[in-house]
């Protein structure tokens, strides 16, 4: 009922314009509605309704009403002659004609979901109007768990975006598209590797654990996972809503403690067949390449480092002279580096009659990496079909297929696995520093043997391939029955089988590498003269392997909903039974050696039994849930929502399986009160909520005693199986729980300013974790997870938007800001632990390390150290870092720097406490601009590089080592370069802790839509061109590498330039 109303809301305006619909008795309304329903539906192509005119004199004004953003005609827009009851409605082409009595008459253009416009007639007889979509319109409908709700009725904390908001952003997955757009939703993109998806966190981290923190993903009402979420193309997505507070999430009960991300896919809309095509091309460049010294400086630094500790030099004068002029090793990077590109094609078709509505989309996405032979492709097909079988009986079928294809060289991928290494085995970083003398190839392109490490270029180009193919088939079939004899009662059922298969094909090949003659007494100079060849040491065995991981699952839902309106009381009740079951299957097979030819097929491998091996595992899971909810409001002014969910999980022992997750929330639209007379506040709503959610992210079977076979042991010539005790069990294991209060304000000020604020306070208890340190090590064995931990969280979020016009330019500003923090109340702590190791009373990301007192710059400072002073057993030397000696085993300074001297570094965080985003957009005629700035602040990062903050001995050192201590440069910024174990300069200390806050111009997006006139000529509804730049620049004090990257050699994030076009037929 509700849905129908929405779809046809346009027609209400027709009626409303000449009769006061709202005040009509219910019966009248029904009759009018049904009458209109009958009139409107059969002929969508009705001509414009010329409504009764009071007077036919003077001026006739006509024109066309369009959507400002899409340029498309807006049929059904209501046009009112201000101060009279005269009005008209735009026809299906958006055209209208109205007569007014005088020149200074004003026309009011109103349309649901759009900002009203008033235009003076003046001398014009043609007035074309482009209406602007209402920003975050309060009367819009938002998706909530198990249904939708008018935004004005929402009492919890949620935030949402529409597909249009992100459709022009050139990223491969949805996660990245969300970055910085929603307050309280944190997206961390640590790597730009194709096919690697950013992680998403909602609000504060509420546990110290690094796993089980993912929000719950729900796609079209089916509980899903991050993998399926990332497999979607955003052309399929209608909107994404994030349930942030516990009250909104409680309807998802046991898995909602980390927030819920609801995705709704597009459905067909009543109307003619519409086809649209989108293409974009992106050119990427690494946003930041870490700086390493050139060969000249490397040679000098290396020799200085070695002579400094009494070792012979690594480069003799001939070699020094050579590297003064040559830097052959730069080719490791230049030969393997590529400028990545993205290509994306999307084709969607949609439309519908009153009986059948359809949405069909297909997309293709192809992204290459900054290293050659790494490619990611994704194909998506979706078909969403809604059918009304009879008056009371309707159904829908959604089907989607997606395929993600990762192809890459197999070197250093760590065997066959399903996780996409976000770092490509650090290979991108390694090409910058790993082999500083050797050149990769002879001048005629033969791979040079640079020693035991092997030839990276050779491995990338000829070392075999690893192909990961992920295929996902999801179906969703639902039936809805409107019970005819009980008004407002709706029964529905749906079932969703899903199938996810990941296949990995891995071909490992040895590469032929050539020995060349060297020059220089250290052989540092590689010549072109070949004196031999060999097969590379890596891989140890040439092999072909295939593995397959299949997850099948289904979810089944039965629900009954009942909507009742009784005077000013509005009830909307829902009851659902839900169950799901799944099975996981893994199989791996490999065969080594290729007797004939090296190709990625089993027939090509050795058929000897000793050259092959297989492996596999299986597991099952199941869940069952009951849930109920009541939305109640009085006069659309006072709102109360109550939900509860009973969740059953096989992860826990019988008797501990069922958990109840209730929530209650309320809202009050104060601005609707008669006494509310604050002029500049157009709308004000206060909300409050309390809810309980859970988290069951714990491995299964921890409640049941078991033993498992774990490898074997050889007796004689026969391997005998080994059996391992799976550990102490905990039959009392149950959910981890989070209860949270949330208070929110929604308001509209000065007509165009939208303001939302949230404050929350969460209490996460019964945290499931293994206590390890509070028992002595002599206890032995691992304890099972227990429900014991407590973490408190709190934070606030602000969103502020403004939309306005400046002549023909319309513009909008939207900012969001979030603060999130937490505090551990109860976590396992060792009995005899130092205070610095006690996590209790501290945030989960508190920083503890040595406090550096800086470099020991002169002999005086060295002599001032107490006799016998050591730093982790090593005597301090000139140019080394020194640290504060604050404690020892006896609790007092002991003249030894060791773990006892670590301190809590107050005010520092590893996770971002403050995040903000700012979005600016402007439109003028067909032009549009969209700018997005994102920042995080209050965060620190422990600098790290490939050699763990040590001097890069034997490799190309980072550039900052040029400013390192020496007797002639005693005031240098960095310590004296020494071989890796001569000092303990590298231990985590405040010296290496750097502020990694940043402000990033996330993107600038420019669009241009062809004018109506041209489109009409070429018989195309709309053509839009897109030019977009992503990750354009970053302002940060952290200048070693991208502050979002894990470390110096991580695969970088990309700076992109995208061109594209969108054509609607």
């Amino acid at each position: 009922m509700k849905k129908l109303k929405l779809l046809h809301r346009n027609y209400f305006w027709l009626v409303k314009s000449h009769m006061n619909f709202r005040k009509a008795p219910l019966l009248m309304k029904m009759i009018t509605f049904i009458l209109f329903w009958g009139l409107a539906l059969p002929s969508y192509s009705h001509t414009s309704y010329k409504l009764r005119r009071y007077d036919q004199q003077e001026i006739t004004v006509s024109g066309k009403v369009t959507d400002e953003s899409t340029g498309q005609a807006l049929p059904g827009v209501n046009i009112l002659y201000k101060g009279t009851s005269t009005g008209t409605v735009a026809d299906k082409k958006g055209e209208y004609s109205i007569s007014v009595s005088e020149r200074n008459a004003t026309l009011i253009f109103t349309f649901t979901g759009y900002v009203s416009q008033e235009i003076k007639v003046g001398n014009k007889t043609t007035i074309d109007v482009a209406l602007i979509v209402k920003p975050g319109a309060l009367n819009e409908v938002v998706v909530v768990g198990y249904g939708t709700q008018k935004k004005s009725s929402v009492t919890g904390a949620l935030t949402s975006i529409k597909a249009e908001d992100v459709q022009d952003i050139p990223v491969g997955d949805l996660s990245n598209a969300l970055a910085g757009r929603m307050s309280g939703v944190f997206v961390n993109q640590a790597s730009g590797v194709p096919g690697y998806d950013a992680s998403i966190r909602v609000r504060s981290v509420n546990t110290w654990k690094s796993t089980g923190n993912d929000p719950l993903y729900v796609i079209d009402g089916i509980i899903s996972d991050k993998q399926s979420f990332d497999a979607m193309d955003f052309s399929e997505v209608d909107n994404i809503t994030v349930l942030k507070d516990a009250a909104s999430g409680a309807i998802y009960g046991a898995r909602a403690a980390n927030g819920v991300i609801l995705v709704t896919t597009k459905t067909g809309k009543l109307g003619k067949f519409q086809l649209s095509y989108n293409y974009s091309y992106t050119d990427d460049k690494p946003s930041k390449i870490p700086q390493y010294v050139g060969a000249r400086d490397m040679v000098k630094l290396e020799n200085y480092m070695r002579t400094g500790v009494g070792l012979p030099v690594a480069y003799d004068p001939q070699e020094v002279a050579y590297f003064d002029k040559n830097d052959p090793a730069l080719a490791w990077h230049s030969l393997t580096a590529r400028n990545p590109t993205l290509n994306r094609h999307t084709l969607t078709a949609s439309g519908g009659t009153e009986k059948v509505k359809y949405f069909i989309s297909g997309s293709y996405f192809d992204q290459t990496a900054a290293v050659e032979n790494v490619d990611f492709k994704r194909y998506n097909i979706r078909s969403n079909l809604n059918v009304d079988f009879t008056k009371n009986f309707s159904g829908f079928v959604n089907m989607q297929y997606s395929q993600g294809l990762n192809e890459r060289f197999s070197y250093w991928n760590g065997g066959v696995g399903f996780s996409i290494d976000p770092d490509l085995g650090s290979i991108w970083g390694r090409t910058l520093y790993y082999l500083p003398n050797a050149k990769p190839e002879t001048s005629d392109g033969k791979f040079i043997n640079p020693g035991w490490i092997g030839n990276l270029v050779g491995f990338i180009e000829q070392g075999g391939t690893e192909t990961q193919n992920q295929r996902n088939v999801d179906m969703l079939i639902g039936l809805t029955y409107k019970v005819p004899f009980v008004d407002g009662l709706l029964l529905s059922g749906k079932v969703s089988p899903t199938y996810l298969a990941t296949t990995v094909h891995q071909l490992d090949k040895k590469v032929t590498i050539y020995d060349v003659a060297h020059q220089g007494s250290n052989g540092a100079i590689y010549t072109d003269s070949i004196i031999g060849s060999q097969k590379s040491a890596y891989p140890s065995k040439e092999k072909y392997a295939e593995s397959q991981e299949i997850t099948t699952n289904y979810q089944l839902d039965f629900s009954a909903s009942y909507i009742k309106k009784f005077r000013k009381h509005n009830f909307d009740a829902l009851a659902v039974y839900e169950q799901s079951e799944g099975k996981y299957d893994y199989f791996y097979g490999a065969r080594e050696n290729f007797p004939l030819v090296q190709t990625g097929q089993f027939w090509a491998t050795s058929s000897s039994r000793t050259d092959s091996y297989v492996d596999g595992t299986q597991s099952e899971n199941g869940r069952a849930s009951y849930l109920g909810r009541i939305f109640y409001n009085y006069d659309e002014k006072y709102f109360v929502n109550v939900t509860t969910r009973l969740d059953g999980s096989m992860l826990f022992a019988p008797g501990h399986r069922w958990g109840t997750f209730p929530s209650v929330s309320g809202g009050w639209i104060a601005s609707k009160e008669n006494f509310f007379k604050v002029k500049f506040i157009d709308y004000l709503k206060l909300r409050g909520s309390w809810g309980l959610t859970g988290n069951d992210a714990v491995g299964g079977w921890k409640w049941q005693e078991s033993y498992s076979v774990n490898g074997d042991y050889l007796f004689g010539t026969t391997p005998h199986p080994r059996l391992q005790y799976d550990g102490i069990i905990n039959p009392d294991l149950t959910w981890e729980k989070t209860r949270e209060f949330n208070f929110g304000i929604d308001s509209r000020l000065f007509k165009n300013i939208l303001f939302t604020a949230e404050y929350y306070k969460g209490h996460n208890y019964d945290i499931l974790d293994t206590r390890t340190v509070s028992l002595p090590s002599s206890f032995g064995g691992t304890l099972p997870p227990e429900n014991y931990g407590i973490v408190d969280t709190h934070g606030y979020e602000l969103e502020l938007g403004y939309n306005g016009n400046f002549g023909k330019v319309s513009y909008g500003v939207k900012g969001n800001f979030a603060y999130a923090t937490n505090k551990v109340v109860l976590q396992d702590v060792a009995q005899n632990a130092q205070n610095v190791d006690n996590p209790n009373g501290r945030s989960t990301d508190y920083v503890s390390m040595l406090v550096s007192t800086g470099i020991i710059r002169n002999q005086k400072a060295l002599d001032a150290l107490p006799p016998g002073y050591t730093i982790y057993g090593i005597k301090p030397t000139l140019g080394a870092l020194n640290f504060q000696d604050v404690s020892g085993p006896a609790g007092v300074p002991d003249g030894r720097i060791d773990d006892y001297d670590r301190q809590v570094i107050k005010g520092k965080h590893y996770q971002n406490p403050y995040t903000f985003g700012l979005n600016l957009n402007a439109r003028w005629n067909g032009f549009g601009a969209n700018i997005f700035v994102q920042g995080i602040t209050g965060i620190s990062k422990l600098y790290n590089d490939g050699y763990g903050r040590r001097f890069f001995d034997g490799a190309r050192p980072p550039s900052f080592w040029l400013n390192s201590w020496s007797e002639t440069n005693p005031n240098a910024a960095y310590p004296k370069p020494v071989p890796w174990d001569y000092t303990r300069d590298n231990v985590p200390s405040t010296f290496w802790l750097k502020n990694s806050s940043y402000l990033r111009l996330q993107y600038v997006n420019l669009t241009y839509s062809l004018p109506r006139s041209i489109c009409d000529k070429i018989k195309i509804s709309n053509v839009t061109f897109i030019l977009s730049g992503t990750n354009l620049f970053t302002i940060t004090k952290f200048n070693y590498y991208d502050p979002a990257a894990a470390d110096m050699n991580s695969y970088p994030t990309m700076r992109s330039l995208t061109m594209g076009a969108n054509v609607v037929f």
Binding site: L311, P312, A314, G451, L479, G493, V495, A517, H518, N522, G523, I531, Y538, S540, L556, F558, Y577, Q579, T617, S619, G622, A624, G648, M650, G700, W701, E705, S706, Y707, S708, V709, G711, Y713, L714, F715, G716, T717, H720, R722, L723, Q724, Y725, L775, P776, S777, S778, F779, G780, G781, T782, Q831, N832, D837, T870, G873, P889, D899, P979, W980, Y982
Partner: protein, 589 residues
């Protein structure tokens, strides 16, 4: 029509309800595990549980870390090549071995095995093996730290778990008790590497020898030596009765599987079982696939091998160009030196080992700048990466898989022999000497030397001149260094004799050494292939090279008992630190 539609509708709804009614979504099975009842009813399952102890506890390590004078600056020119033990940076956190998770698993088994429902013979055999492994694990800790908490049953969380350290005497008593309990339960002799009576009795001898040694026995309580003697003597008697003994040829100990010398063993096999042992590091890098510096013999070790006539090699008077002449068989079986006979033919080809330097570019003005291929990875293309790989000029030949190829250097099939007959014999000899049975000690030494191919000499003493107790003690110490080189005993021997610091401090200039051999002839005439080193030795020069960094030893007490790491004491304030590391625990009690 309508009726049919309704029927279909009703039917499909009923069908869905049927599906729901039939499935029990929460009723699932753990597909990856074995039910706990099986452990106590199925002897194969119980045996598999005990097999896990073998996998967790049986040593299988061929590569001796740089703890002793056996190896020289293997692969780096930094003192990183030396361990914390040898460069004076040992701290209480350095040595961490606290395997109570394994002890718990053993205790679980010992607590339940008596009530198992399968046959008594299997129960006894498995129980004996588990008792042995518990003794083994406790001894591993006690020899490092002194007394440790004695936990003999699987604790519940509700027990008083903050157990303090037991006295060392209590721990040793428990270890001996477990072994005494195990000995009658295990089989007499296993042919497949299970713990048998031979192993348990021999190990008991080893434990009591340590207990009698100065590390634990500062007042030289002779009764402890007597206990050690008796245990080793009865072990030997039993071994003899089982047909165990010294193998004729020293080299064959690691080529003949399960020969009569093998007592406690970790078997390795490849390729039909992927449990080969990596020997990669113990050869020139070019043959090793990414691993270097394992067991590179130092000149100190090389010099310790006796001459064929049993006399000592005297570097003061002898010529390093001929050091390889007239040594005992153990020398040739253990050391790959410049000109040594082919020792891994499938990999190296049928060529002698050449590790010399020569004038690589044939230009006398640039001096000796080449290196023969075996000496170094890169030398065959004229690169002298002298700061890598073997700086001593030697490689290990002992315990190498003779059939290994370049492709499978990680997959050696040599078994790791943790206890062999010779050790029991030497253990007995050492204890015998301390209780005054010098003759018995010497005759054991003679047996060892006889097998090493040393001439008996006119006096039948195999070159041994020792006669007093201290002299024989020294002779035994010297013999153990070479007899058991790279077998993982030296570090623990030096500690138990409390001569670790002094031995390494007595190195010349506090450095370990190697030899640099240079070819003095022309580049073209340099030796290769099977050229007999004995015919050309005088065309080489041999220079003693020292390691890049000196050995810095701490006080002997720091080594006798290691400190308890902070990570252990943090979790239990009842754990006292050793008195040699600033605490109150006396490990001598």
């Amino acid at each position: 029509m309508k009726a049919i539609k309704r029927l279909i509708l009703a039917g499909s709804v009923l069908m869905l309800l049927f599906i729901v009614g039939c499935s029990k979504p929460l009723d699932k099975k753990n597909l990856a595990a074995i039910n706990s009842d099986e452990l106590w009813s199925n002897p194969s399952v119980a045996e598999a549980y005990v097999n896990d102890m073998y996998a967790n506890l049986m040593p299988d390590n061929f590569v001796v870390p740089r703890y002793t004078e056996e190896t020289m600056g293997a692969n780096t020119d930094y003192n990183g090549g030396l361990t914390d033990y040898l460069k004076g940076t040992l701290t209480a956190d350095t040595y961490g071995d606290w395997p109570y998770d394994i002890i718990r698993n053993i205790n679980i088994f010992l607590a339940g095995i008596d009530n198992a429902t399968f046959d008594v013979a299997t129960k006894n055999s498995l129980k004996g093996q588990a008792l042995f492994w518990r003794a083994w694990t406790y001894f591993r800790m006690v020899k490092a730290y002194g007394g440790v908490p004695l936990i003999l049953k699987p604790q519940a969380i509700t027990d008083s778990v903050f157990v303090p350290r037991n006295k060392t005497t209590e721990c040793i008593a428990q270890i001996i008790k477990d072994l005494n309990d195990a000995i009658p339960l295990v089989e007499d002799m296993s042919s497949v590497g299970r713990i048998d009576k031979c192993v348990a009795m021999s190990f008991k001898g080893r434990v009591l020898l340590y207990w009698a040694s100065p590390q634990f026995n500062r007042n030289n309580d002779v009764s402890r030596w007597t206990d050690a003697y008796n245990a080793n003597k009865s072990a030997l008697d039993f071994l003899n009765s089982m047909g165990k003994g010294l193998l004729d040829n020293y080299k064959d100990i690691w080529t003949k599987k399960m020969n009569e010398e093998v007592i406690m063993v970790k078997m390795h096999q490849y390729p039909d079982y992927t449990d080969g042992y990596s020997q990669a590091a113990m050869r020139p890098l070019v043959y090793s696939r990414d691993a270097v510096g394992g067991n590179v013999p130092s000149l100190e070790l090389v010099n310790a091998y006796p001459m064929k006539d049993g006399s000592k090699y005297d570097p003061g008077t002898m010529d390093y160009r001929t050091f390889f002449q007239n040594r005992d068989q153990r020398f040739y079986a253990s050391i790959a030196y410049n000109g040594a006979a082919p020792y891994i033919v499938p990999m190296f080809g049928n060529e002698n080992m050449w590790t010399y330097f020569y004038d690589g570019d044939g230009d006398p003005s640039t001096g000796i700048n080449g290196k023969e291929s075996r000496a170094d990875n890169d030398s065959k293309f004229g690169r002298d990466a002298s700061n890598l790989y073997s700086n001593s000029g030697f490689y290990p030949a002992k315990m190498m898989d003779e059939n290994i190829t370049w492709d499978n250097v990680e997959d050696g099939q040599v078994d790791w022999i943790e206890i062999r007959y010779a050790e029991v014999l030497m253990n007995m000899a050492e204890a015998a000497n301390e209780i005054g049975n010098t003759g018995e000690a010497l005759s054991a030494l003679y047996k060892i030397r006889q097998r090493a191919g040393i001439d008996a000499g006119l006096n039948g003493k195999y070159g041994i001149t020792a006669s007093s107790v201290p002299e024989v003690r020294q002779a035994i110490m010297d013999e153990r260094l070479v007899e058991f080189a790279f077998e993982g005993l030296r570090f623990w021997d030096l500690r138990r004799w409390r001569i670790y610091s002094s031995t390494l401090n007595n190195l010349k200039d506090h450095y370990l050494h190697g030899l640099r051999i240079e070819w003095n002839g022309t580049t073209a005439s340099r030796p290769s292939g099977l050229t007999d080193i004995n015919t050309i030795w005088n065309q080489f020069t041999a220079t003693v090279m020292q390691d890049y960094n000196p050995v810095i030893m701490l006080d002997e007490d720091k080594y006798s008992f290691f400190g308890i790491p902070k990570s252990i004491s943090d979790r239990n304030s009842n754990i006292q630190q050793n008195n040699t590391w600033g605490g109150n625990f006396d490990p001598l009690q």
